[in-house]
Amino acid sequence: MQPSIQPVWNKGLESFSESLTGNPVLGWVIASAFPLVFVALFALVAVYAERKISAFMQDRLGPMEVGKWGLLQTIADILKLIQKEDIVPKAADKFIFVIGPIIIFVSSFAAYAVLPFSSAFAGSSLNVGIFYAISITALEVVGILACGWGSNNKWALYGAVRAAAQIVSYEIPAGLAVLVGVMMAGTLDMQKIVMAQGGDAGILNFFVFQSPFAWLAFVIYFIASLAECNRAPFDLPEADSELVAGFFTEYGGMKFAFIFLAEYGNMFAVSVILSVLFLGGWQSPFPNVGGVMLHDWTSGPVWGIGWIMIKSLSFVFVQIWLRWTLPRLRVDQLMYLCWKVLTPFAFVAVLGTAVWELYFRQSSVSVLVCWIIGGLAVLFGFYKMFIAKGETPKSPKIIIAQR
């Protein structure tokens, strides 16, 4: 039941839209409008999800008033933000103040140009795609600094300087971890990186199961990406209990909405990069077993969108989960983690991958080693979660409110 769209990974989205509309110009417009609409919709859903998930974790109900189960709450919030007066503080540097949120949003949105959402759907199949994505999201620092400096507020300045130090530092382990995926695929093109992880073996072909060093890089990139999105436990630039709201203290209305949108856009973008690099992007995880061609049945452009969404959204969920569980690190601990823990391990991962790719790749021994290591890791996780966990007696139900 596949739609009759040919895989056009090597031509990019314009040909995809051209095949839909028969008009290259219209195709370009659609090509650029797609991610924009997507980011906006995703933020809408993710904000609601974050509220509901945090409410679930905290024994609350979360938004319940606007619409059934509060489903329209984020829409109401957006309406409120749109209606708000566009305030620029008197002491602020107006130009820098206004341009800050725009830079932040554009840099996070621009990364979507190269993200491959399916075999037939990538904004642009750039041959240096991953490099472009990493560097364009790093531009966010400029916007954050502009926000902090332009606000003419000491707390905002602290937030901005913290953000600059943090994001620039965490680029390094993140970049090295990305390099591991790139080395394994032998290309910087994100679409080709995904294609390198396809095959009959399904989930076994994903890079994270191909080498033990990919496991390491996978974990490192996830931690570093948390820091790059300013998510907890690395949300120091916007540390609400220390810096009031960090670099966006002075922002309100649509400017605030843009910063907010960029944060959620960024969360999703790094999750997509993570799943593309290590978890096979839009590839189906099912293997072909003998005559049961499960992999072939569940592959295709539309299936691909489903797979990459499942993978990325589960990372977004983990990001939300961590945010509502962990306290915040201190500035020096943040830098310690980056420079003395993540960066050395990232170098180990890069070197290890190089050796692995030269000598062990595709041998049966290597797959065995990977599975043993992976299995041990999973067993350890289960042990930590279910067995080592302290036994807590269940609280009896109480009905105190009765009069």
């Binding site: 609350r60 707390w155 436990p233 209990s241 810096l243 306290p327 915040r328 201190r330 609280s395 105190i400």
Partner: protein, 397 residues
């Protein structure tokens, strides 16, 4: 040799080497950072002026008075029973404890005997309120460190205590329950059972705080060894409560200057041990609060057992028609969740006190802030303020 007479010191007249000049021009300046009175982690309307060099705080000066309501002057114009609602509003997180401290002082002045059942009722509500207060302290401390979820967990359980107390006297925070010579109401029927139910419910929930916050690696990293207050410094400043016990001094007025029925009850004075924290740091103060919750639960359980049942008990029977203490002065004190709350009352033999002076534990504890915050990072200053556990209502009065 003739002496050189120079207008300026020699060093300033000599040409400066170019490297030093650059360094001089690039010199950083200290920045004054105003923290509060509207700041999420100053716990109300505290204003702290920080002198910062980068992220390092070189000087912290607290400025008080944003919540000053002239309690002491006001009290001189009021009858004794009318002062009690004002004491409610001092440490509004633990109002029952304030009421008790004030009533103890007045009762001491009047040499008033309180019925035994009333004493137990007082201890139960006071300890319930102590738990509620520590829950707020722990929850907001987690918030200061950046963990949001413990706050909601502690407030969920505090809600049960508040509804118990609301059932008892109609108010959720400002109770006016403990009166001079008695209480305003007897326990409602089934109230004791409900309190026992709460204790059984809450014990596992208190462990939950440990698992979520106290044992969290990041939390320990953030608080361990931060804001260390040595025992002698704490004593010299006059600290009390968890602040003093966190520094390893076993001092609890319930044990060392016992009042009410506390001598009959068994409980430990919690001090931290050196293997779980650095004695006197933020983590130690947090651990003291977390463990005191268990002690309060113990006290409540014993009180529920020992409390005598009296037919048609009138808690207002011993309340004097007119509270008119004899001439003289008195200092009465009680162990509040935040430390020693004392009232010094001078009576001229009237129905109104001549002078009331409140000795606030938060005020004294906060005075250590400039010493503790010196040379720490901004995030640590937030952690230190949180660990002192201030309530501005009591500091400013």
């Amino acid at each position: 040799m003739p002496e050189l007479i120079l207008e300026k010191p020699l060093a300033e007249l000599l040409p400066v080497p170019s490297g030093a000049l650059v360094e001089k021009q690039l010199k950083t300046e200290e920045m004054v950072l105003n923290m509060g009175p509207q700041h999420p982690s100053t716990h109300g309307v505290l204003r702290v002026e920080l002198l910062t060099d980068g992220e390092v705080v070189s000087k912290a000066t607290p400025y008080l008075g944003y919540l000053h309501r002239c309690f002491e002057k006001h009290a001189e114009a009021l009858d004794y029973p009318m002062i009690i609602p004002y004491t409610d509003r001092m440490d509004y997180i633990a109002s029952m404890n304030n009421d008790l401290a004030f009533c103890l002082a007045v009762e001491k002045l009047m040499k008033l005997e309180v019925p035994r059942r009333t004493e137990f009722m007082r201890v139960i509500v006071v300890e319930l309120n102590r738990i509620a207060s520590h829950l707020v302290a722990i929850g907001t401390y987690g918030l200061d460190i950046g963990a949001f979820t413990p706050l909601l967990f502690t407030f969920r359980d505090r809600e049960h205590i508040l509804s118990l107390l609301e059932w008892l006297c109609g108010a959720r925070m400002l109770y006016n329950y403990i009166w001079v010579g008695g209480t305003s109401h007897d326990f409602p029927p089934k109230f004791k059972e409900r309190v026992g139910e709460f204790v059984r419910y809450f014990k596992p929930k208190a462990d939950e705080i440990y698992r979520l916050l106290t044992n969290n690696e990041i939390f320990i990293q953030r608080t361990r060894g931060i804001g260390v207050l040595p025992a002698d410094v704490a004593i010299n400043y006059g600290c009390s409560g968890p602040m003093l016990r966190g520094s390893g001094v076993k001092w609890d007025l319930r044990r060392d200057d016992p009042y009410s029925v506390y001598p009959e009850l068994e409980f430990d004075v919690v001090v931290p041990t050196a293997d779980e924290c650095v004695i006197g740091d933020c983590l130690a103060r947090h651990i003291v609060r977390a463990k005191e919750i268990y002690e309060s639960l113990k006290i409540i359980e014993q009180c529920l057992d020992k409390m005598p049942e009296v037919e048609n008990f009138d808690p207002q029977a011993a309340v004097p028609k007119r509270v008119k203490p004899p001439k003289g002065d008195v200092y009465g004190r009680a162990e509040n969740p935040r430390g020693e709350l004392g009232f010094y009352i001078i009576s001229e033999g009237n129905t109104k006190p001549f002078r009331v002076k409140a000795r606030s534990s938060c005020f004294v504890n906060l005075s250590t802030l400039p010493e503790l915050a010196k040379g720490q990072l901004i995030s640590d200053v937030v952690a230190i303020i949180g660990s002192i556990d201030i309530v501005l209502g009591e500091i400013d009065r």
